[in-house]
Structure formats: structure tokens, C-alpha cells
Amino acid sequence: MRRYSAWAILREGLRLHRGWPRVWENPETRAAYDVVIVGAGGHGLATAYYLGKNHGITDVAVLEKGWLGGGNTGRNTTIIRSNYLQDPSAAIYEKARSLYETMSRDLNMNVMFSPRGVMMLAQTEHEKRGYLRIAEANALQGVSTEFISPRRVRELVPMINIHGPRYPVLGALWQPRGGTARHDAVAWAYARACSGMGMHVIQQCEVTGIESRGGRVSAVNTSRGTIRCNRLALVVAGHSGRLAEMAGFRLPIESVALQALVSEPVKPMLDVVVMANTVHGYISQSDKGELVIGGGADGFNNYTQRGSFHHIEETVRALCETFPAIGRLRMMRQWGGIVDMTGDRSPILSKTPLAGCYVNCGWGTGGFKAIPGSGWAMAELVANDAPGPLAAPFSLSRFREGRFIDESVAAGVAH
């Protein structure tokens, strides 16, 4: 792996850019690895990276059914924040947010992290009380957020309509250190770093079965043959339920479609992320000038990566009311991703009934922001066969024990 630097660009510029190596290797599979990770999205690759970086485990393969970062990593609205109500959530999301701050330097690749600030609008009295409570909780957790007045909202986002007829803005929960990052670059940067440590990132390799011997995982069957492994990590978001079925257990997860859309590019008009959870819409402006818009998830199980049209309609209607200036923008693209929803809307990082097999799933509609923290915690779990402090509360057994980490009330739909 050659380091990226100003000097490297200058040198390659003089050589007509003929000396750049592949960003990551495209290796043939070996017969066996110490750790096999299923899913080369952000979470899977981050798990591999921190296994190597923090625990010195580099005999790792990351298997991907499609292409690298082509699932929800490439389909989200790239929002990064950590203003959660419950302590375990705040801990892991804040860890992730802080790792995003230094990610470009750590991975020697520009992931375009932009701490532009995330604003969650309070548009009903109930929501306002909820956000005041979260602001207090965040103060105790060491997460820097504040509840700001409508006047301050207006200063930060001049185009906002504070006095909407149905949903006036009563204030907002403001996290100045939240923001966005380039989602593809995050996957690419981790893949490059993993490849640089000698790990195998194998694309177009679908897992079709999981073998065990004496209650312990022994191999995975794939479209490229059987691969033996000592430890197996399932990090596949929407398809977690299917992989769990192959491993012989069930998860408290249902897969639904969540949609996003982007507008035509326009001049800079919005330099923070605005989320309006009562009306199910969130919006930010990309560096290309497109408005990136997300909405609510469907209410029924679906694997088609298409969502229902009425959700787009509701999202756009709400945003047009809040930002009248965007009313005549045309939308360019719309797409869906399959998100894995748990009962308490919190993720699962856990050992499973099958020894040597670990799951990292259930991030639902909010996985992108958690990628580095999730990878960090998951690597700890896989390396030590025991969760560290970040992962421990997110065990599979919490559903049996009634130890929920209930973010469904705190985070609303936009998660």
C-alpha cells in the first residue's frame, strides 16, 4: 500500500499517474482463515480493520456478496451524530463520532468528514420536551449538545420556515460536532487499510451455508467454495436474519425498506444537517450541491430495495412546508436500502448460540454514523470472545432479560 500524500501526487503527476497501485488487492480465496467476516460494508470492514490494528489479528477474510460498500453503506444519507438518550447508545455512537474526526488521518484517505452540525427540529411540545431531556442526558454522558431557540435555528438555517402552519419550529437539539462524511470513501478507506495489512477482501462471494462441528463454527460455504474458519462474524445488516437461519438461530430482527432521494444540484443553501422527526424528513446538502433527503421506513417486511411511494410523498411534503424555497426543485434519484430493525431500535453486537460465531446487526435506519465505533467494539468481541464495555449492553440476551436499550421513543423514526 503506497501512502497518499501531497508528495505522492506531485511525483505521480510527473510520471503521468502511471505508478499508482490498485487501491486494494483482489485476491483468490484461501482454504482457511482465522477470522471470516461476512459483509464488506462499513461495519464489516471496520471490524476487520480494528481486528488488525487493535488486536494484531490479520489472518482475516471479508466476504461480500455484491460489491464493496454496495449495500446500506452506499445507500444512506451519510449523517453522523451521537445525540442519543440511553447511555450505552451515547457511548458507542460518540466513540464512532470521535473516530470519524481522525479517520482520514488514521486511514490515510480523505473520507471528507464534515462536522457541520446536526440540528433536530422540535415541532411539537412533546418533541421539545423529549429533546430537552436528551440534551440533559447528553450533558451527563459527555456528549456535547444543546437545546437552541427558534431564533438560533433561524440564524443557522435562514431558509427555514419557523412559523409553519401545522408544524412550527419550537427549538432544536443542536449537536455542533455532528455532520456528514463521504460514505463510499469510508468503505474504500477501510478496504484499502485492511488490504494493506494483508487481509483478503473478496467481492462477489456469496455465503450459502454455515458449517459447525460440535456446536462450534467450522466453515462457511460460499459461491467460491468452502472456506474454513475459527471464528465467524456476521455483519450483513438487512440479510442478518437469513445468515442467522443458516447458522441455526433466530434474531429479533425484521427487514424493511428505507428510502432516500437527491435533488438536482443547486448553489450552497444549507450548511448544516437538519432532521425533522415529527414529519419524517431529514436533509443536508452534499458537496456537489444536491440536497440529500431521507424519510421514513416502510412498516412491512421487504427485501426488494424499493420503498413505498407514499413515504417519499410524505417526506417531500413535510420538507416543502419547512423549507418553502425547495418547493420547485426537481428530484434526480431515489433508492432504497434494506434495514434490519430490532424491537428496541438498538443494535446487536453479540455472541450467538453457535460458539465462535458473532453477530453485528440491527443498526436499523442509523448504521452509517456508527461504523467506526461498531467496528471497534466488534473487533474487541471477536478477538477476546467476550464483549468489551462498548458492546456488552448490546448482547442478544437483553431481549430475554428485558434489558432493552429503548431508542425507539428517543430517536423517533429518523434514526
Binding site: 434474531l251 425484521e254 412491512f300 421487504n302 407514499h310 424491537g343 431481549f399
Partner: protein, 107 residues
């Protein structure tokens, strides 16, 4: 857009007219149930890629509950029947088997 025919009032209802109610044919854990059984009833869900049975309510119509047999990979609807049914009707099961020979059936 998902369109389901309400078996009670016969209306082909658009999903905006309906409220989803989650997995159908769950067996309620009784008072003597263990923690594991109760967890399975409350939280563990079949999340199949393919044939799925699901509860819906005709919320903006007759207000009654029914069950829809759907494919989660194509959004194809195989049929609907009233929710006061312990198992899917035999003719519906036959129809699904014809279309989806790989379907393993309900446990």
C-alpha cells in the same frame, strides 16, 4: 405500492389505507412458559426472503384485521384471509406451493 384485498369488505386497498401488524400465526406463550419461549414469542421473528404471512388492519376502511400471504423478495401477493384463522386456508397453501416449490411451509 402494495395493494391488498381486504377479505372482509372485498375492497382492493392501497397500503396507505392499511396498517401493518407484523408476523402472523404467532403462538402466544402461556402462563407456564419459560423465559426462552416468551422471548421467542415476543421478539424472535421469522424474517424470510420469500413467502411471508403478515397481519394487516384495514384501518381506513372496515377496521378489521386480516392476514396477507406475500413474497418479501418481489412484493407479490398470494392471497388474504380473515385474521380469525389458526392456519392459512388449504387452497392458498396449494397456490403458494405451485408458485414457490422451494417454500418450506409454516413451522
Amino acid at each position: 405500492m402494495l395493494i391488498l384485498t381486504c377479505p372482509h369488505c372485498g375492497i382492493a386497498a392501497d397500503e396507505t389505507e392499511l396498517a401493518p401488524g407484523g408476523e402472523a400465526h404467532l403462538k402466544r406463550a402461556g402462563p407456564e412458559a419459560s423465559d426462552v419461549e416468551f422471548e421467542a414469542y415476543m421478539f424472535a421473528r421469522r424474517n424470510p426472503l420469500g413467502v411471508h404471512f403478515e397481519r394487516w388492519r384495514h384501518a381506513m376502511g372496515c377496521g378489521k384485521w386480516f392476514i396477507a400471504a406475500r413474497a418479501t423478495d418481489t412484493l407479490e401477493v398470494f392471497g388474504t384471509y380473515p385474521a380469525r384463522t389458526e392456519a392459512p386456508p388449504a387452497d392458498l397453501v396449494r397456490r403458494i406451493r405451485r408458485k414457490r416449490p422451494e417454500w418450506e411451509g409454516l413451522p
